[in-house]
Symmetry: D3
Subunit: 285 residues, 6 copies
């Protein structure tokens, strides 16, 4: 009889043995347009069994590395502050054991919880953001903690010149102005990822992937689909490139599986998780 | 050219001329299982044009009464406290003009916002609840303001013996025990509605309708479908019965239109809105 | 190798050998709210293979009778008048061979095409209507030929006292007034079917079944779901009862299969087709 | 951090401590019309968290009993014989430890695997079947092992007079004749369940619930929806009644969650699992 | 309280103050394959609030221009001639006030209504068509007014050499022959748009965008998806290019939102509306 | 009245007159992840009427050739061996009349049935595979006959160096090792198709197209979507190229229409069928 444990395929290491600890942060309470990212981590685990553990792109197998899928946090849907502090606490605990936290959202705001813990340990951390949206508002619908403000809140922590944003193609005019003044903005494309990788070599880096950086053709399963995005192979190459850096935290957010009944968005997210985990694992050995 | 104003069919009175003011409270931020009630009010307005303004059940027409559809509140998805106070403020304003507030949720928690304003004006108000769930938890996932606690929060305001709950068929053991000790609980059925109407005659009453009191066969478009509910004609009769009381506030919550792609749940909600508005209007003339 | 002919299960008699001729009228060009009934006949044929040819209700088998499924008409979507005259012509041809026409819509307006041919042959025909809506408007959105006017157009042909309507629960006030003045209206229920069967014994009868007479719980797959309808067994009993009359034409309209992704509405329509064909066949032997 | 074990709510007893062992048999390889029951057990586990552990119907809580959710079998989709023998082996193992096997299908054929093991231990076992279909074919599409033959295969094991079938409303003529000759057939309704319970008191009984016995209004999420079924409360009462017998094995089959996007069918199946487990647990104490 | 007016985001100018007047023509009565474009304008308005008013592509904001969203026409579904003359009348009225008509379909036939009014005022107008289909049939299913004949009917008005068609990849052989003889046909690609812009400089141009010119990967939400189309950025560039011409009328047709449950097609249409309105507005200042 | 025969558009030649015989093999009994390819052939036939018979890519019309759509096989869902031998028998019969078999699956395993018959007649046949997956397992879940083993079973028949695989991007490590040792593997792309066409000129070739070689953006309607595939025009070019060879059998598998509710995947499959049939027909004349 199969065990009824439910992990991402090939991520069955015990916590103590793991180099990377994957966990889910199923929270979408501030999503204003179309909710549903709360279902992402469960959906990714289940559909990961449509994948193989082997990557023909990297010629590596997940089962050759030590990755623990620690399950999902149980987060409050009524209190954003509590949800974020629970995420911070878990991330802090993972970091304190010398392991790499790899979080699956949830809406993009969950990044703030993980990032705060990472920034405590690595105060000189840089952030690489793959995203369709700037997420740089000062507040949104009266809330300072929102999916639409998450990168602004990260900027509150680390300040100018430490955020590197790729693929951005949506935001308010003021957000774009803020981005140009205070961050490194590479809109529309991922063309200059390699150049940034050169600059950041040797520095601690947190990578946050909002999956809506992908074109909606490739990834319709997200709350706010934004035409004009990148394709799968472009994103995969970029992820492999940045994973050669000294990555100290990583997350993938904004899959809303129920908006893509074909399952293709979830399958694409699964494949990105596998490839990214392999790239990060290879780096760490 | 048709105007692009968007109201519930037949509810085009100006605010100042209206006896009843309908408004939407599109908020589902604390919904823990499956969100989506935020889409209810917009969906109900649009699909109301599949209805007639005439009710063959009551032989009355909406256009013979004065009802204003005042549109939707724009509520914060990150801050539950703000959302509730915005709802209270609107309700208070409607009441201050001597009009009846009729709110369309949204998750059941929005009832708390409206009820608080009603209870300020009518401190001796009773509550009639049609619902599948007790909603009597003290807290849920760390939050005291939650769809699962809303009736408990109302009890905090008005205390023992003033809440009359029909159709309840789900909850924790402790909630049922609390219900039996502190409220009037009529589980599973609506059989005793008429009896309660007798008792409450002459008293101010707030009516809150969580649409999941209906059987999922009739109403699958809700976040937490709960088998064993009542059918449409039973609920309609009960609504007509309680509308003969001195109703000082009313709401209908928990339609999640996207879970019923057939549109039947939204159509059923529309028909209940029409019938209920007619019954409340007739009472007021 | 199975033939790629596509008929309703058990209806494979040649036209010349048949007592009943089933045909599809996939037209929904005047449907104002939600179109899709054009897909009904194809969907019913395909899903009929989820049924058996045997009815345990009547203890009869379709294959013991002679029924020809003659396929679908190809109707103009731009010209309502052409579509109706094509339907009339086909019906006339079937009648001229002494066979019973059994049409599957399409929107309810297709009934007019079939009925006109029937009324030519049987000028004293009565109509039994099972429906949620009166369909008695004089015109609708500027058109006199519309799903919302079909029964009024039939009244134009046969006049007062010859239309018997069951299950009606929606319409404009003026339509209900017209119905009470000029037709036999039995709203909300099918309780008095047997009584009407008594009265119409020996007279030619055309039966038109708008499937939205069923409750949306049972039959969500229709363009304008209207709560408060009848259940399957009630409708089945009524159909069996009226089929004992001298039926000279019959139709079933308003299945929109795509609004019920579960397939249950189509399956229910298939079962009604089987039962009705058996009842009509038995009568003829 | 929540464990990432994935069990039905409240069924977290260790195997050794359990009185009842729930397991999934995700197999639908012989389903000829519309597949998908393979997804049922996973779907039921996930959505069970929309329920409470407490039943207001029985005033009992799942957590007061000892139930182990042992997860899903991994069954071959290419070889029906292997799949069935794997199910038999697991059932035999559970029985050998003195525990009650409670299987969640899968298509109805999985019942044969479990039943064969039960009949080895209890050769005088009776079978109570709740179902829309007779499932009594000798073979189907060339296969003797099929969802459409499962009760015939059980009859092969136990012979005449030991099968008691309720709610049946579909099948070939020959199947109905076989049923009347060799089994106890109570078609269309569950009215005579209590009478059969009287007769079977003191005898070992295997109960197989094909969820399509429910009306499609209540339970559209199944491969072959069949109009005219029973409602939820009727089935619940029947299940509680038969659970007072000496039940030696039980299963629930034919949920296809993807055909009911509203989730209501899965929610209904979850509620039946909870109620049935409580009734069977109470009996055993 | 938000007003319940329902406009495209940022298009709230009064009619008198507007330079561009957007209106919806929700009509799909001649659609023969899969209807649903009637739902497009309402869907675009609602989902436009998932966009920003700011375009990072053009560095402009909608709120800096004067655009009136005048709502939807109420068109007859039974009489194509009436529907078209209603569209013509509205377009004529907009033109008579010196404003630019910008119509959102509906099926492609609605273009004929708007174009007729435009051609009255600008008899020397050219037409630029972005489309997957030629739409050049003389008649279709007996109707001369059909989505499949619309460009032929436009040719009836303006004759040879005035229609410039891009992206075409589907049609009958005779339609392609007609296109090569009487129009400028640039099949499969948009490569030669710039060349045509050169040629038409200074001439009045009507632009009609059938969204199925996009690849179904990018835009599955349409009645007749046709593989091998262009991507979003290619279409956006082409729209910006042609908007530099003297545009005297514009429309966008053939979104059927319900065929793309992910919402990505509607979101893409919204983004094209925003970008196109900005390009047309900038030109007019 | 239209006949109710149901063929792919323009494929109405009688068997005896045909050069190509199209047939469906609706079987998906070994599909382990998400079933549904059984619905493909019926869906392709129905939606083919959204296409024209004319190809602007090849400037040819289906109706100028002789193609028979012979309908669907009725295959056993319980016995894989029977299903495959039925497919072999049909293919053998088609070949014995000197016609080209063109099969529409079903899951990829159906290829084995057709291929076995082809290899009997053409023992030196080569295989060209377009696919996302290697399908080279020795066994899968205990079954040697499985969608995951089909190319391995073909290798069993024809041995080393005769299988040419394009677009592969998923499989176990051992499968890729096997592929490199025993077959010609051209992973990820179709770049080297022309080169292989050169090599195989004059040799009999069987072409098997697993539609999941397409990117999920283009073709989400498949059981196991695998990101990183090719686009439509690339596949079309490759199909036209290989069709110039001496093709002795061809199939297209793995459309699961129900996973792409937009219908775009089915439409794309239809277009590929049309183009492929035209290319194969032109070759034969």
């Amino acid at each position: 009889m199969k065990t009824n444990s439910d992990t991402f395929i090939g991520c069955e290491a015990a916590f103590t043995a793991a180099d990377i600890v994957l966990f889910g942060a199923p929270f979408d309470s501030t999503t204003s347009f179309r909710p549903g990212t709360r279902f992402a981590s469960r959906s990714i685990r289940g559909d990961s069994y449509g994948l193989e553990v082997y990557s023909p792109y990297q010629d590596k197998e997940l089962t050759d590395y030590h990755i623990c899928d620690a399950g999902d946090l149980e987060l409050s849907f009524g209190r954003t502050d509590l949800a974020l502090s629970d995420i911070s606490e878990t991330t802090r605990m993972i970091l304190s054991h010398g392991k790499l936290p790899f979080m699956i959202g949830g809406e993009h705001l969950v990044t703030l919880g993980a990032f705060r813990a990472v920034a405590e340990k690595y105060p000189d951390v840089h952030v690489i953001q793959f995203d369709a949206h700037t997420d740089l508002r000062q507040e949104y619908l009266g809330a300072e903690l929102s999916h639409a403000t998450v990168i602004r809140r990260i900027w509150d922590v680390i300040g100018d010149g430490r955020i590197h944003s790729f693929g951005i193609r949506s935001g308010e005019k003021a957000e774009f102005e803020f981005a140009r003044a205070h961050t490194h903005l590479y809109p529309f494309h991922l063309n200059r990822v390699e150049e940034v990788v050169q600059k950041l070599t040797g520095k601690p880096v947190y990578i946050t992937l909002d999956l809506d950086v992908l074109d909606p053709a490739v990834f319709p399963g997200t709350g706010t689909p934004e035409a004009g995005g990148v394709d799968f192979m472009t994103l995969l190459s970029a992820l492999l490139a940045v994973s050669k850096l000294q990555v100290v935290g990583a997350d993938m957010t904004e899959l809303s599986p129920q908006y893509d009944l074909s399952g293709a968005s979830t399958a694409t997210a699964c494949k990105l998780v596998r490839e990214w985990l392999l790239a990060l694992s290879a780096r760490q050995l």
